[in-house]
Structure formats: C-alpha cells, structure tokens
C-alpha cells in the first residue's frame, strides 16, 4: 500500500490515475451513447433496455460506484495537478505564444468544470428527477421527450456535448500517451483516433436532444 501512496504523491502517478480513469470513463461514454441511440428504435426498445440495466440491483450499484469512484479520482487528480502546475510558474511571461498546443488541451480544466456541472445536472434531470417536470420510473422514452421540451435544456445539453467533444479530442489522445500505450511515432501530435472518438461520442449524444427539439422523436 505504501507504494500506492507514494505513486499518488508524484505528478506522474496522478497523471496516470487520470489516464486510467479517463479511459474508463470513455468506455462508459461509448456504451452509454450507443444505449441512448435506441431512442430511435422506439419506446419499447428503450423500456427493454432500461429493464435490462436493472436485471440486478446489486450489479447496477457496483457499476455506479465504479463510475463515481473513477470520476472522483479523475477530478481530484485534475485539481491537485492544476494546483501544482500553477505553483510551478509564479511569474509569467509578458509575451507567450502557443506554438502547437490545441485549444482543446488549453481548455481541459475549464471544460472539465463544465462537464462536472453537466454531470450533476444530467443525473438530477433524467435519473433523480430533481429538475424534471414528470419523471416516471422505467419509462425512459417519455421521460426524455418531456425532459427536452424546453429549448433551454436542449441548448445546455448540446453546448455541454460540444465541450465534451473538445475534452475528448485532447483526452482520448493524451490518455493513451500518459499510460505509454501509444506507438512511438514520427508525428506524435497527430490524433486521428481522438478526433473520431470525440466527434462520434459527442455527436451521438447531441443527436437525441436535437431530434426531440426538431420533432423527429415525439
């Protein structure tokens, strides 16, 4: 156990934790996105999917606690690294021009905070019903249609998914590099996989609120 604490104490250790949890969350996002797209198959398909997820209450909680654990580790490591990084340059430059860093990489912290806010809102919206006018248990299709009646909610979801895409455009590339899983390359900054992953996941999620707004799903 001591080695784990020491590992966590180092910047490399914290970043590796971010990479592992980030990639774990990416896997969840892919499954979640594919599951959501069953909205286009109709209310019955969505209900069967919801029932499938609730086959075992115990297993569901294992998955939930795993996700919460990963999110907490990811965010705590991000906050601690941000504090370390801020201290590493107490006096800045009068002139500093980014040469190759992407907008995505420079907005990881800001975008991350937005994502955290979105996650809380989203759970309160479609899982717990705090921010939902009429949430009915095991009726996901209707819940989604009613939940996206307000254009404001649709807009917030779409904006959040844009920032998710930005976060993933950096994260889905950086995560594998942090863990040393990418191949050595003559062009280490090229990130085709991350681009595809980010576009597919964020567009896949955003499709549903947009389709409800346009009346394609009703």
């Amino acid at each position: 156990m001591r080695w784990l604490l020491k590992f966590w104490d180092s910047t490399v250790g914290k970043k590796v934790v971010m990479g592992v949890t980030g990639i774990g969350l990416m896997a969840f996002l892919l499954v979640h996105m594919a599951g959501n797209l069953q909205m286009f198959l109709g209310a019955d398909a969505m209900r069967r999917y919801a029932e499938l997820l609730r086959t075992s209450e115990e297993l569901l909680w294992v998955a939930r606690l795993g996700l919460i654990g990963m999110a907490v580790l990811h965010i705590v490591a991000a906050l601690q690294l941000t504090a370390i990084n801020a201290k590493a340059r107490p006096e800045g430059y009068a002139r500093k021009v980014p040469q190759v860093s992407t907008l995505a990489s420079r907005t990881m912290r800001l975008g991350g905070i937005l994502l955290a806010a979105f996650i809380v809102y989203h759970l309160g919206h479609l899982t717990l019903g705090w921010f939902h006018p009429a949430l009915v248990h095991l009726q996901p299709y209707g819940n989604v249609i009613i939940g996206f009646r307000s254009p404001l909610v649709v807009a917030f979801y779409v904006v959040a998914m844009f920032f998710l895409g930005l976060h993933l455009f950096h994260g889905a590339w950086a995560g594998f590099r942090t863990l040393g899983l990418a191949k050595r390359s003559a062009e280490p900054l090229q990130r085709a996989f991350a681009l595809w992953f980010a576009v597919i996941v964020s567009a896949g999620f955003a499709l549903i609120p947009i389709a409800v707004y346009l009346g394609i799903l009703a």
Binding site: S10, T11, V12, L81, R89, Q99, T178, G180, S185, P188
Partner: protein, 257 residues
C-alpha cells in the same frame, strides 16, 4: 536593420525586475541573435550603462547554455535552433523583439536573462550511475543493439539540458528533459540494471524541484532545439509505473543531493 528590443532587466535574484525598451539600430541580418545582443551591450557600456546579462558558451548550438524567450517562443522563431544559432535574418527591419528569461519556480532568475538551472543537475545526480564496468572496452559487437533502439537512445541523448522544454510548457514541467535522460540510458542494455531505480529517483527529484506535471500540450517538443519527441515521456511514465508497482526501494537513490 533597425529594431526595438523589450528586455527583462532584473539586478539580482529575488529583486523586482521590469521590461526595459532599447532601440537597436544598424543591426546586420548576418549577426546571430547573441551577436546582436553583444552589439547592444557594447553600446550600453559606452554610454556607461549596465550591459544586459545573458547566458552563453559554445555559440554553436551544442552546450545548452543559451536560452531566451524571444517573442513568446523558447529560443525564438526557428525550429530546431538554439538562440545562439538563430540569425537576425529571421527578423524584419522595424521589428519589435521581446526578450525574457525562462520562467519557472525551479529556474530562479540570477540576473536579467540568466536563470539558475542547477535543478536539472540535481535531477541528473538523482539518476546516479550505470554499473558499466571500467577497464578495457569490450568488443563493439559483443552487445548487439538493434538500429531502431540505438537511434532511439541517441535521439534522447541529444538533449543539451537548455531548459527550453520547461520554458515553453504552460505548466513549467520538466517532463521532456527528465524523460530524455531516463530514456537514453533505459533504451540500452548498459542502462538496464539500474533502470527502475533511476526512473523513480529522477521523477521524484523532478517533482521535488517544483516543476509542474505533464498535460501533453506538446509545446516542449516544438521548442526543443534537438527535436526530442514527447514519445520519451511515454517511456518515462511506463518505467515509473513499472518501478512503483514492483516496489523497488528508491530511498538511497533519491536521498542524494
């Protein structure tokens, strides 16, 4: 050509500094950047003013002494080029040039544009020795090393320790430097016996010196005059994870310095 310089002036460590403007008329485009500063300094001395202090030694791009933030880019606008190998033809007549020291908590300013980079020396020291036996060198072909691995080690050994990676990194991280040093030994058979302990000790020292962590912005690789790749950081992280998980005792190694 006629230029205007905006130069960071700071009399001593810990003292307040500021940007001072200097006109630099009649500069030849064939001068190196440091020769241009020499000319400006000669004129300052003639006027009885304090010359601008900057670090330099070889002036041929191999020692790593020079290091200036020039118009917001480490070592200036030319890729794969140290400040001493940068020439004034890279600028235009009438240009304004901002010249600042490397900025990092671990690189305190000594004077004007000179920073103390001994944190790098302490990271190297923490790495310790390799247990290659001394005496007559063994036959060159006794230890066959594949061409890709030999190249990989050599690419990383090209690091001159100038600190541009730290200066360019928005986190002031020394990851590229430390990774290059860990990799150029770790890639070769001679570096294997101490490989795990070296990774632990050097990363721990890097953190202890107050450098930031790696966010993979990629700025370090772009700034590196020797073209060292962020691929090295993958090697450092892999070695560090492996070393931590196999519980190698790093105490006596990281305890030095």
């Amino acid at each position: 050509m006629n230029l205007t310089l905006h130069v960071w002036r700071q009399p001593a460590p810990g003292q307040p500094g500021r940007i001072v403007d200097y006109p630099a008329p009649d500069i030849s485009p064939d001068m190196s950047f440091l020769e241009m500063l020499d000319v400006v300094n000669e004129r300052l001395i003639e006027r009885g003013e304090e010359p601008i202090a900057f670090d330099h030694d070889c002036r041929e791009g191999i020692c790593g002494s020079c290091g200036l933030m020039i118009n917001g880019a480490a070592h200036g606008p030319m890729k794969l080029t140290t400040a001493c190998q940068l020439h004034m033809r890279s600028f235009k007549d009438g240009d304004e040039i901002w010249i600042e020291p490397w900025r990092a908590k671990a690189f305190p300013v000594v004077k004007d544009l000179i920073v103390d980079r001994s944190a790098f020396d302490r990271i190297i020291q923490a790495g310790g020795y390799i247990s290659a036996p001394t005496g007559t060198a063994q036959d060159a072909n006794a230890l066959p090393i594949g061409k890709p691995e030999a190249d990989w080690a050599m690419d990383n050994a090209a690091c001159i320790g100038c600190g541009a990676c730290v200066a360019a990194c928005p986190n002031a991280s020394a990851s590229l430097f430390t990774a290059a040093k860990i990799t150029h030994l770790g890639a070769l058979p001679q570096g294997q016996p101490e490989r795990m302990r070296r990774a632990l000790a050097m990363v721990d020292r890097m953190d202890l010196e107050g450098f930031g962590g790696c966010t993979l912005f990629g700025e370090c690789q772009e700034a590196c005059p020797k073209g060292i790749s962020i691929d090295a950081i993958m090697q450092m992280n892999r070695d560090y994870v492996l070393a931590s998980a196999t519980k190698v005792e790093a105490k006596e190694w990281s305890g030095s310095a």
